[in-house]
């Protein structure tokens, strides 16, 4: 017994791969080529709808760490690329990305409101697509580009630029009340604007439908997204 045997390390690479967002496929190809595959069946991630399109990364054998022994429950060390920085962390097969971000890496901006994949409050971006981190196995995130709500000042990142524009709009339009759900709301909104820079009201609703707000502040959320979209279009973000 004792403290969790976490080998979380401080970021060892300040400069990350620049990720041009208009070339998702190129980046995916790069990331795929850089990962290791192993023959263990994994859990699928749950994708959130992002307006026009829903993208689900659904290759169960992708990115599994090589098992060095026969214990299927053994922890493995994986490298996670989060907000442009690399982190090495030891994960159990049952560790979700949410646990690792919060409990091992201290990135508590990603919340864990329901821990059941129901409320969207833990949403992060994986290769620009919104996922609920509480149901996304941590090992599957290895080799992919993860963006959390803390990733608002990553240099040369369109995701980061959109994220920060949304955060500033959220202040202006009062997008959150208790704000417990807002980091997740903002990540879903980032995915939405990434795939659809000028969404209609219906597209905003579709893109945000997986994120619950118990304060009922949906008017504030819609206005914030509209303002951010407008600011980004006008180049003022």
């Amino acid at each position: 017994m004792g403290e969790k045997d976490s080998t979380a390390k401080q970021p060892h690479s300040e400069e990350s791969e620049s990720t041009p967002l208009d070339s998702k496929m190129n980046r995916r190809t790069f990331l795929k080529a850089s990962t290791i595959s192993a023959g263990v069946i994994g859990l699928g991630g749950i994708a959130l709808s992002t307006g026009n399109s829903t993208t689900v990364v659904q290759n169960p054998t992708e990115n599994l760490p090589a098992t060095s022994n026969s214990d299927p429950f053994a922890s493995q060390t994986v490298t996670l690329n989060i907000n442009g920085k690399s982190y090495e962390v030891s994960v159990e097969p049952r560790d979700m990305l949410n646990n690792v971000l919060r409990d091992d890496l201290g990135l508590i901006g990603t919340k864990r409101p329901c821990n059941r994949g129901e409320c969207g409050g833990c949403t992060v971006l994986i290769d620009g697509v919104a996922y609920m981190s509480c149901t996304y196995p941590a090992y599957r995130a290895a080799g992919h580009s993860i963006t959390t709500v803390e990733g608002y000042n990553v240099p040369s990142s369109t995701e980061s630029q959109i994220l920060n524009a949304l955060q500033l709009a959220w202040v202006q339009e009062d997008g959150g009340q208790c704000s417990g759900c807002q980091p997740g709301q903002i990540m879903s909104a980032t995915a939405l604007l990434l795939s659809n820079p000028n969404p209609t009201l219906d597209e905003i609703k579709a893109g945000m439908s997986g994120n619950l707000c118990r304060c009922g502040n949906y008017d504030g959320i819609i206005a914030s997204i509209q303002l951010a979209a407008q600011n980004l279009q006008g180049g003022s973000a």
């Binding site: 017994m1 409990d103 009062d174 208790c178 118990r214 009922g216 008017d219």
Partner: protein, 809 residues
């Protein structure tokens, strides 16, 4: 306390006053950037480093899946052998109770389980993952007992008796079935005679369901000991009550218990997450502290969705049978109401005020209310949830009132205008207390105009428009709700440092209502500041702040009135120093825009910061304020709604609503507007979705790995549905009515709870109008109920003029 509304000399009650910050639409929520960039820590976010430790243990509950059972054995040996720390009732001090007042209870089941989800054991483990492992290692055996979910059934002598004195808390059921005590009776005038002489008498029964707060952030606490001193960082709406309870539980001085809703330090407090009433107190606070003591390390206890939903207080189901009497001219002459409150296994004492004192809404000379609280095995504890009792009470009464107006074939707005309590000189009828203020009839008139009622209302049961299978109806209601009880005096401090920094210390929390902005805003305005840039806030921490009462009951803005007295006290310390610099009389000095100036010679002034620089060290003013006891302190408003129903799919959508609410004076504009909108959205859930369910089957066969029948069905966001962005109304027009309340700071009163009250019945009345005047009797209005209404409408083509719309019981 003085019977007259008190007022600080700094309290500007002029309705036309010009302010720098009060009501300023440009003021943004102070802590929102920190929250949306993930920097603000909520209780579940606290790690060992945040409290200066290197390790932290995690804790959770094992809860009973049965509604009524005897615990025959608990085996924790396997969990202990694996190195986990366990707690069962026998590990706790004998007779140690936890809870507020009459609702005190052992934090773990002592012998009998009284509702599904009652905590049986607690465990702690070094990682969150292992909490699940530890819980799986505990074996509990139960002897299941007959159970009762329904309040009317629980009143029968043959029903399982949950408490030694019977199922009516504080009372019992006599041999003839009559409830002997534990009830509430209010009587005014002569109801029986008035009903006998009335032109129209309408009798009907309405009911509501169990609702759960389902805040996005669950309840939680981090507890740790330093020597004999206990610190609890908790998501609590009332740090002082928790401090007192912990001190009593551990038999240590309250000064050795620190309860903080923040991590301390000069920042905008901590973050509670939405607090809708169930975050006043909870078992996790004491059990985290017991586990931390046992382990010798900090313990973080965060509820799962299941334990959050099933161990806490809930909005109790309330039903009422009314007899209403009116004259043909629309005069309301009698209200007779018998209320039954299902207050759950622990029997919340607050069930006694189950009437929701809705009798305030109508100026009716003959009224009689009788209410019975009944314990059942349905859920934990009927108690605080955003607008305690009022939310249910408004649905029941405004359903009946609307139907009475229908019977009279009178425009529902005209019926309210004729009969509602309104200015001038409104008085609470039973205790004969004068209102501090009332927004009626202004709120109703303004909302009616803004909504365009006269164009949209086509008569009872006649939709505003029909387009194929889509029918649009309009409806309305009024609201008149209590704003909590007079709690202990509210206190606060305001400090000025020589560098000009202002620090506001107030023992209230921000659970989404915007208090972190409202409180410093009020102090800043009193200090003449034009910006809050140099104003800091420390909220609700028993070490740094003093008791400012509970953050509940829409009282926080009112309770922050003490800030004006704190500024007054600060002034008395500061102005003599400034006066000698300005060669002026301290009594003539006043705060101007970022200045202090001589009122007899306004050009003789000094900037706020230069005046602060005259201080050799910080000075601090102390303020105390008490809500007057002998006034009626009410929230009043009116709602209009436009609802569409598709008769092919039975899908209902709120198209628009208009909501005028008296808030005294708008302090934090963006926050007030969004509370009014957001509370109304929550009301959509109350109207159409929200109901905490149990398996109604009495078959008690247990399938291994699955809860028994009688157990919970929907303790999660998937099955207990709260409004999503799709349910958001297409348009919302919220109108703050500035009915200056002389007891509030700058005339303001709080609105947190009042934003949900009556939202549901405004939508339901509009739905009724769309469906030929069909009267719905029980919330939530499920899709099956809508289907039934559509079938009724189709078989009653003259539904609008028919009087058979209510299934009178």
């Amino acid at each position: 306390m003085s019977s007259k509304p008190q007022s600080s000399g700094l309290n500007n009650l002029d309705p036309n006053a010009k302010f720098n910050l009060v009501g300023n639409q440009a003021v943004t929520r102070r802590d929102i950037y920190a929250k949306v960039t993930g920097q603000r820590k909520y209780t579940p976010d606290i790690g060992p480093g945040d409290i200066g430790r290197s390790t932290m243990w995690y804790a959770g509950f094992l809860v009973a899946p049965h509604p009524h059972a005897r615990v025959t054995s608990i085996d924790v040996s396997a969990a202990q052998a694996a190195g986990y720390v366990t707690l069962v009732e026998s590990d706790l001090p004998v007779g140690a109770l936890f809870g507020i007042g009459a609702r005190a209870y052992p934090p773990l089941v002592s012998s009998e389980v009284l509702y599904p989800g009652q905590p049986v054991a607690a465990v702690a483990a070094p990682t969150a993952n292992e909490v699940v492992d530890a819980l799986n290692l505990i074996k509990v055996e139960y002897e299941q007992l007959p159970y009762v979910f329904d309040a009317q059934e629980a009143l029968q002598a043959s029903a399982p008796q949950l408490w030694p004195g019977g199922n009516v808390p504080g009372g019992g059921v006599g041999e003839n079935g009559a409830v002997t005590s534990g009830t509430l009776t209010l009587n005014l005038g002569d109801v029986d005679t008035a009903l006998a002489n009335a032109d129209v008498v309408y009798e009907d029964t309405f009911g509501t369901s169990i609702q759960q707060h389902f805040e996005i952030f669950p309840r939680g606490a981090v507890a740790y000991w330093s020597g004999g001193q206990l610190t609890v960082n908790a998501s609590t709406q009332f740090a002082w009550a928790v401090q007192q309870q912990l001190a009593a539980y551990f038999a240590i001085p309250a000064t050795d218990v620190r309860v903080s809703t923040s991590l301390g330090g000069y920042e905008d407090g901590g973050a509670l997450g939405n607090g809708l009433g169930n975050k006043s107190t909870g078992e996790e606070y004491v059990l985290a502290a017991v586990l931390a003591q046992k382990i010798g390390a900090p313990v973080k206890f965060v509820h799962t969705r299941l334990t959050h939903a099933r161990t806490t207080t809930n909005r109790w189901p309330l039903s009422a049978t009314f007899r209403l009497g009116a004259m043909n001219d629309g005069t309301l002459v009698a209200i007779d109401g018998i209320y039954t409150a299902n207050v759950g296994g622990r029997g919340g004492a607050q069930g006694a005020d189950a009437v929701g004192d809705f009798y305030n809404a109508y100026n009716c000379p003959n009224m009689r209310f009788y209410s019975i609280p009944v314990t059942t095995d349905a859920y934990s504890n009927g108690a605080a949830m955003r607008s305690v009792g009022e939310e249910q009470g408004h649905f029941l009464m405004e359903s009946a009132i609307d139907e009475l107006a229908h019977k009279l074939n009178m425009d529902p707005v005209q019926f309210r205008l004729k009969n509602m309590r309104q200015a001038p000189n409104p008085v609470e009828p039973f205790a004969n207390l004068p209102y501090t203020t009332i927004a009626q009839p202004q709120a109703l008139q303004e909302a009616m105009q803004a909504f365009g009622w006269s164009n949209l209302w086509k008569g009872w049961g006649v939709p505003s428009s029909v387009n194929g299978t889509k029918r649009v109806g309009v409806g309305m209601c009024i609201q008149n709700a209590s704003k909590g009880s007079p709690f202990p005096p509210s206190t606060s401090q305001v400090q000025v440092d020589p560098d000009g920094t202002v620090t506001v210390y107030i023992g209230l929390t921000d659970h989404g209502a915007g208090g972190n902005t409202t409180f410093p805003l009020i102090a800043s305005e009193a200090l003449g500041l034009t910006s809050m840039a140099n104003v800091k806030l420390i909220q609700s921490d028993t070490m740094y702040t003093t008791n400012a009462s509970v953050t509940a009951g829409s009282q926080s803005t009112h309770n922050s009135h003490s800030l004006l007295y704190a500024v007054e006290d600060l002034k008395n310390q500061w102005f003599p120093i400034v006066a000698s610099k300005l060669n002026a009389n301290a009594n003539n000095l006043a705060f101007g825009n970022d200045t202090i100036y001589d009122t007899t010679n306004p050009s003789n002034s000094i900037s706020f910061n230069d005046a602060a620089a005259l201080l050799t060290s910080s000075i601090k003013g102390f303020g105390v304020w008490q809500i007057p006891f002998n006034v009626a302190y009410r929230s009043t408003g009116a709602r209009f709604a436009q609802v569409e129903v598709d008769t092919e799919t039975a899908v209902v959508h709120v198209i628009s609503h208009t909501f005028a609410l008296g808030l005294g004076r708008t302090i934090f504009y963006k926050g007030a507007i969004h509370q009014m909108m957001g509370g109304s959205v929550m009301g959509i859930g109350s109207a159409f979705f929200e109901e905490l369910l149990n398996d109604p089957s009495q078959n008690v066969t247990v399938t291994p790995g699955f809860p028994s029948s009688g157990s919970w069905l929907n303790p999660n966001f998937h099955d207990y549905q709260i409004p999503t962005i799709y349910e958001n109304p297409d348009s919302a027009n919220v109108i703050p009515v500035e009915n200056i309340d002389p007891t509030g700071p700058f005339g303001a009163t709080g609105i947190g709870e009042n934003c949900i009250i009556a939202a549901d019945i405004s939508f339901i009345n509009a739905l009724s109008n769309a469906l030929g005047g069909y009267r719905f009797h029980k919330t939530p209005i499920r899709i099956e109920d809508v289907v039934e209404a559509i079938q009724w409408m189709n078989s009653n083509p003259n539904g609008a003029s028919s009087t058979s719309s209510s299934t009178t019981s």
